[in-house]
Amino acid sequence: MDPCDHCEEVMQPFLDRSLSLEEQVSVETHLETCPWCSKRFRFERELRGYVRVACSEEMPSNLKAKLAALRTPLL
């Protein structure tokens, strides 16, 4: 398999750090020498953070109050 195709294939487990040490090192080595893949790797890493932030809507404060009201009343 072409090394860039392979790098694309394992990009997610690489970012999740779920590859074996040997595979992890081989991807790192490829990224050091391949600007095409390293650009895409940095984008992927940034995208994950961006998705998390973009989807994090703050909890409405009135919902907090509603939840607190569900507590069992103290006698």
Binding site: E8, E9, R40, R42, R48, C55, T72
Partner: protein
Amino acid sequence: MSETDTEGRRIANEARDRVRFEEEALGLSDQVFRVARGLVNSREEAEDLVQQTYERAFRSWRSFTPGTNLRAWLLRILTNLNIDRARRVKRRPETQPMEEGDYFLYNKLEESAGRPLEEERVVERLSQDDVVGALSAVPHDFRDVLVLVDIGDFSYQDAAQILDIPIGTVMSRLHRARRVLKQELADRAVEVT
């Protein structure tokens, strides 16, 4: 010690445990809401879902084992309620999207710009609405895993436990979900460029 004393102490201990449980559960509500918001398509639905979750959690607090992961326990209630809800509203059968590789989105963005991109700023070509819209287009089974792991910060193991599926299924769905998300993002981002 009389029997009444023992019974009184038991009741007092239980009340204390319950208060502690409820306080701890309420302390996690921001995180529970964040996951809920990722799982459903509107803020109102997310609010209802969180409320139902806490109602059920407070009712069945005795079935929680102290010292185990309360956040995962709450999310398990929430995802089950969400599955029931989705069954009731009878969603359209989901078509299985074509799957592109992991570089697809970046390649599309670069292609639409017609030049190599300043890579550090590439994500800024995607608006928050693009991301929220793209997430809502990911089929439910895949989306649940994506939201738990990538937004809720749950481990594969916790996500497997919450959704009651094998860990291998979590990993394969997550992989697929991230690719589908990027494909949906590509459709949205390139449309407006």
